[in-house]
């Protein structure tokens, strides 16, 4: 691994153990945002910082290929990027995947808003569904705002990963 001489096993081991916890906390923040501090934005940024930790300690290749499972890592071909079609790196490679995420996030947020119009409500109207008498849970409260927050989450994750990947590879 190229980052061997950059970080010690100590750091890598610690990072390995805290990254899932950070993601866990991030998702917690995302889900609880409606009732407690948090929300899509903070959840998203925290998720990305977890990835950033991996990126810093393990390198970009590891992050995109091993962890996020993007097989076509343009990063790997960075050295030869100039001879390749330069566009491809930005569309089908890692960066392309990352940037698709924020597009989807926006679509989710806006699409949820448009959903309201389908129900005859103004754009971005939110509703809450209460399900009573559910076993174990009692009352489940499903806020449509969660979809919006999820959109925000993906926008943040996609954008920040894109920024990190592009700037980091410079």
């Amino acid at each position: 691994m190229s980052s061997n001489n950059q970080t010690t096993v100590i750091v890598r081991t610690v990072v390995r153990s805290v990254v899932p916890i950070i993601v866990l906390v991030a998702i917690g923040l995302l889900l609880q945002g409606h009732n407690f501090p948090g929300g899509g934005f903070i959840g998203g940024v925290l998720t990305v910082t977890a990835f950033a930790l991996v990126y810093i300690t393990y390198g970009a290749e590891y992050l995109s290929q091993n962890l996020l499972g993007i097989s076509d890592g343009s990063v790997a071909r960075r050295e030869t990027q100039d001879v390749l079609d330069p566009d491809e790196a930005f569309f089908s490679g890692t960066v392309g995947r990352y940037s698709a995420v924020f597009g989807l996030g926006l679509a989710l947020a806006a699409g949820g808003g448009l959903g309201a119009i389908a129900f005859g409500e103004p754009f971005l109207s939110q509703a809450v569904l209460y399900f009573d008498h559910i076993p174990v849970f009692g009352v489940i409260e499903l806020a449509s705002a969660l979809i919006f927050d999820l959109g925000v989450y993906f926008v943040v994750v996609g954008s920040l990963l894109t920024i990190l990947a592009v700037v980091g590879n410079e």
């Binding site: 970080t7 010690t8 100590i10 750091v11 610690v14 153990s17 805290v18 916890i21």
Partner: protein
């Protein structure tokens, strides 16, 4: 009532201890002669100080939602703080920050290219 008072007392004590160690860590940060020695103070005292205050939070908020995340916080601090200190001190040496009190790097480390840097400084 009684229980509550004891709980309050524990919280107060933890806060006092925590604040004290935060202060100690910072004084160390200011007083100690170089970054390596300063890190002794910060990695121990400051971490313990913060952990102590986390613990105060745990006691104060019972063992429910908020309290439990205090515990996670404490664990997190103990895992990450020394790692951070390790990274910083390692990097400091790599970039050639000299030891302030004549510390010597243990000799013989042919394969550790960075130690050469430290030696040549």
């Amino acid at each position: 009532m009684e229980l509550h008072t004891i709980q309050t007392a524990i919280v107060a004590a933890l806060i006092v201890v925590g604040s004290a160690f935060l202060l100690v860590g910072t004084i160390g940060l200011l007083r100690l002669p170089d970054v390596y020695n300063r890190m002794h103070a910060t990695s121990k005292a400051t971490t313990l100080g913060a952990a102590s205050i986390f613990l105060a939070g745990f006691v104060h908020f019972d063992a429910q939602a908020e309290g439990l995340s205090s515990l996670v916080g404490i664990v997190f601090l103990f895992v990450t703080a020394p790692t951070g200190a390790h990274m910083i001190s390692r990097s400091a040496r790599k970039m050639g920050v000299e030891f302030g009190l004549g510390e010597q790097w243990p000799s013989r480390s042919a394969d550790d290219g960075t130690s050469e840097d430290a030696d040549t400084e």
